[in-house]
């Protein structure tokens, strides 16, 4: 390995609350039908919300939209919606749900999902924070960045509610701040890791034996 390895990504996690429905519809609507990265959406919503969010998102994309069930495998080219009233945790290639107490009044908590994505997939993780009226997601985005992953934030000036993206930018000043159309464009341009990555096998070349960079678990 003489040249720098291409960074390949395994998973996209997106967090949003207030104004999230429109933002998510725009984002998934802008993803091409052959988009390969599994994309996990964590939206704050009422504990009794049903499948309406998934239905409204499915109207906008040809990618299959699925509401997560416990231990469901993480498949490429699929959009996943975190179910209401559970935390969504990510393991190597599958989901685990939890009814542990809300974190800062939220269940699902965006931070909880982002932490577990970052700690599982390391630098192969992409975190996206969109519109919202609180600061959930900031710490999780920080974790993703610290594990070597890619941090994207909706430009607060374009957000229905700028609080959440503004908090994310304060916490991760290195994040790329973009309009939603450009977030979709950035995601589309990424190199997907071999799908084996989502099943938990190392795929990135190890640049010099540093275990902290071995995907997907490391860093």
């Amino acid at each position: 390995m003489t040249s720098a390895p291409t960074v390949a990504y395994s998973i996209v996690v997106v967090g949003t609350s207030w104004g999230g429905l429109h933002a998510l519809r725009e984002l998934v609507g802008d993803l091409p039908a052959d988009f390969r990265l599994p994309t996990i959406l964590v939206q704050h919503r009422h504990r009794e919300s049903d499948h309406l969010l998934s239905t409204l998102l499915q109207e906008r994309t040809r990618l299959p939209v699925s509401e997560v069930e416990d231990k469901a495998p993480i498949e490429p080219g699929t959009v996943y919606v975190a179910p209401a009233d559970y935390h969504l945790l990510i393991d190597r290639g599958f989901f685990t749900l939890s009814t542990d107490p809300p974190v800062r009044y939220s269940r699902p908590s965006i931070d909880v999902t982002f932490y577990s994505a970052a700690d599982t997939y390391g630098p192969a993780t992409v975190g996206v924070v969109l519109t919202g009226a609180n600061s959930d997601g900031s710490r999780g985005l920080r974790r993703i960045f610290e594990r070597g992953g890619l941090a994207l934030v909706q430009d607060p000036a374009t957000a229905e509610s700028p609080t959440m993206p503004a908090a994310a930018v304060r916490c991760v000043p290195e994040a790329k701040v973009l309009r939603i159309a450009d977030i979709a464009r950035t995601l589309t341009s990424l190199t997907p890791a071999d799908p084996a990555a989502t099943r938990g096998h190392a795929v990135l070349p190890d640049p010099g034996g540093n275990s902290a960079r071995t995907a997907p678990g490391g860093a």
Partner: protein, 290 residues
């Protein structure tokens, strides 16, 4: 290659110089140690959940690594007790998922009416919120007197709380809303007495409830039941242990008995799926048919 932590940032969780394979090894060793020294078997719990709970304990104790926690836990039984609560207590609510309880009323209750006596196993009942919910539902449907509920949990401490039937008063507004949406027929406040910051539930609700310790990992079936109720417990288990528990449930259910799971739990990934028929298109209510 690790990015240094910004000093002063209140970050929680694993250190930044981080190797998830090494962490997995540490957690496996810790759980093996706990099993061999104390006999509590968490080795087949869902990794992502147990990892998160371990880190919460590590932070609460001011420790830094899983291995430090292991050293402390193995030498300090009181630390083990605190950790045991972290690992074995599941949080629930009265009439959690009201739509489920409404469906249970509409679909399962008419089936239960056809039996002279109804035996219900509430597996992993934790602090008992859903046991009281079921007792209220049976009472309102006129079935309570021919029902017996066996409420079990691995953890003695939560079982005692379940027996006491005192829940935080500040949750009653939420529970009342749930109760109404679940199709409750009376006034929810008739079921409890407020005292200080607690709501004490009527002891008549537990007249036909037997609380006892049972470990889904190691204990066997202890009777035959018409209904097994196990909601949001299996999410804390890995796939293999889920299969093991599904086998236990299958053996413990009478023919045409009803299995009720949490709203995002599924038989879909279990080999027992063909043994059941769905009683509702969305709610996780199944009937044993073979």
């Amino acid at each position: 290659m690790a990015v240094p932590v910004t000093p002063g940032k209140a970050l929680t969780g694993p250190p930044v110089t981080y190797n998830s394979d090494l962490e997995r090894l540490e957690i496996e060793l810790l759980l093996e140690g706990i099993f061999r020294h104390y006999g509590f078997d968490f080795r087949s719990y869902a990794y992502a959940s147990i990892r998160r709970r371990l880190w919460k304990r590590i932070e609460a104790e001011g420790l830094r690594t899983i291995s430090e926690l292991q050293a402390r836990v193995l030498h300090d039984p009181e630390m083990m007790e605190r950790l045991l609560l972290d690992l074995s207590v599941n949080v629930t609510a009265m009439f959690r998922d009201p739509g489920f309880y409404r469906a249970f009323r509409e679909i399962a209750i008419p089936l239960l009416r056809t039996w002279p006596f109804i035996r219900i196993w509430h597996a992993g009942c934790s602090t008992g919120e859903e046991v009281y919910s079921m007792a209220i539902l049976l009472h309102e449907e006129g079935l309570y007197d021919r029902a017996r509920i066996y409420a079990t949990d691995i953890n003695d401490v939560v079982l005692q709380q379940a027996k006491d039937g005192i829940f935080p008063l500040n949750r009653m507004q939420e529970y009342t809303e749930n109760y109404i949406r679940a199709g409750g027929k009376q006034s929810f406040s008739e079921y409890y007495t407020a005292k200080y910051d607690g709501a004490i539930f009527s002891p008549t609700l537990t007249r036909n409830v037997v609380f006892s310790q049972h470990n889904l990992v190691t204990d066997r079936s202890f009777s035959e039941f018409n209904v097994i109720f196990c909601r949001n417990v299996l999410i804390y288990f890995d796939r293999e242990l889920q299969d093991h528990v599904h086998a236990l449930f299958y053996e413990s259910l009478s023919m045409f008995g009803i299995l009720a799971l949490g709203s995002k739990e599924s038989l879909r990934f279990s080999k027992y799926e063909p043994c059941y028929e769905k009683l509702h298109p969305r709610e996780k209510m199944y009937r044993k048919v073979q």
